[in-house]
Symmetry: C2
Subunit: 247 residues, 2 copies
């Protein structure tokens, strides 16, 4: 039992970080948990961290001890090769989990950088493993989240390995659109949080090519772009571009 002096600030903090009151609980770790199980998950997620635009949550080489759920904002993860090239390996938005790359070696293997002012929930990994031994629904869901990360990466490999520039960008836009919808935003109108260079790095293209393809899509009436503001005009046609080489 905590003393009365501690009780007040603690409960406020708890309410502020509680999964049970979080708008993203349908997308995040608590998926499929009962109210009581969610309370137990709340017990380990006390801490939130904020990162201003450009700051990182963790960097490659740092010891791993927690996963991070994006509460608000937008992140990229990237690896820096020894000769200075860096490769963006993913973009992360609300409800998505960062840091699973660090479990295997107990060291983070990439950087997680905020692309706008952001907030994450800190999930101590040892305690998550403890709890998931006691709560099968949590264990099962956590395994699914990891597995989906693998499948997502396979999708990127397919994109990088066998698609042309236009297909890559179309696939990227369709993917973003779907993730925005799942979060209650417009599927057809959004702001890109990343630069052309970051998109290019993720898609294996140079920034000039990204820019050119954006312009081409605009000329063809598929989308309208103005800097970071994108409106998708013809989603079906954009989807059709993915996985269909031009004849």
């Amino acid at each position: 039992m905590t003393g009365s002096m501690a009780a007040q600030p603690l409960s406020l903090e708890r309410l502020r970080t509680a999964c049970s009151t979080c708008g993203l609980k349908e997308l995040c770790l608590p998926v499929g948990l009962s109210g009581q199980e969610m309370d137990r998950l709340d017990d380990l997620i006390h801490v939130r961290r904020t990162a201003k635009k450009g700051q990182s949550i963790y960097r490659a080489g740092e010891p791993f001890d927690a996963l991070y759920a994006v509460r608000s904002g937008f992140f990229k993860s990237s690896i820096l090769s020894e000769d200075g090239r860096d490769q963006v390996t993913g973009f992360y938005m609300g409800g998505e989990l960062l840091g699973m790359d660090g479990i295997g070696t107990e060291q983070h293997t990439c950087d997680a950088v905020a692309l706008e002012d952001s907030e994450v929930c800190v999930i101590p990994f040892g305690r998550l493993e403890d709890l998931s031994r006691q709560v099968p629904a949590l264990q099962s869901h956590f395994h699914k989240v990891m597995s989906r990360e693998i499948v997502r990466d396979h999708g990127v490999m397919m994109l990088l390995g066998s698609m042309r520039a236009e297909e890559r960008l179309a696939a990227f836009l369709v993917n973003l659109s779907q993730r925005f919808v799942a979060r209650g935003y417009s599927p057809s109108e959004f702001y890109l949080r990343m630069t052309r260079e970051e998109i290019g790095s993720y898609l294996g293209l140079k920034l000039e090519t990204v820019s050119r393809v954006f312009s081409k899509f605009q000329d063809e009436g598929l989308i309208s772009v103005q800097q970071k503001h994108v409106r998708i005009i013809d989603i079906p046609r954009l989807k059709h571009l993915v996985g269909h080489r031009p004849c």
Copy 2:
């Protein structure tokens, strides 16, 4: 207690599939388990399956209910896009785990095809989850294996996204070499189980390019290739090629 009639064949089968007597236990799921814990893992791995060259262990779309540990042989995993292109997403050898892509959706998302006559241990996933709730060392190791699969995929993304053809093939050979060493084979001399086309698909290159780069490496005295037989002559120089653009 099992009757005496059943005891004999059962124990033979058990011995045949037992993790505790498997030469790959240092590389596979049992890593870090005590003898007693390994026995419990043995309890769930009764079944082995064989696949002749060209046959698959599972295919995309099939329901997922088990992971497969490669006992002997060699596999590729690949996804087929709707327009018929297929992308090799990985190669798997002894002690490596196949099928983690299926956990997230409870359906396999790629094909696992044997590249030579092979044998796998079938690990029923539900029972693995049950046991890993009881055996923290198993839980922890399984999480690490999944995490490493993610890190491996990030490596491939880096390769596909920002390396030139020569770097890609060098990285591929170095990686194979390291995995062969870990299994007690020669680091410098091995048979490729996959075709030039499969290597190309994995590396985002056409088979002609793979062939040309092999020839170039040979001309430069880095390796000697004759069809599927590869001997690496200068590992340090090959390693140096990876992550260093030509000046």
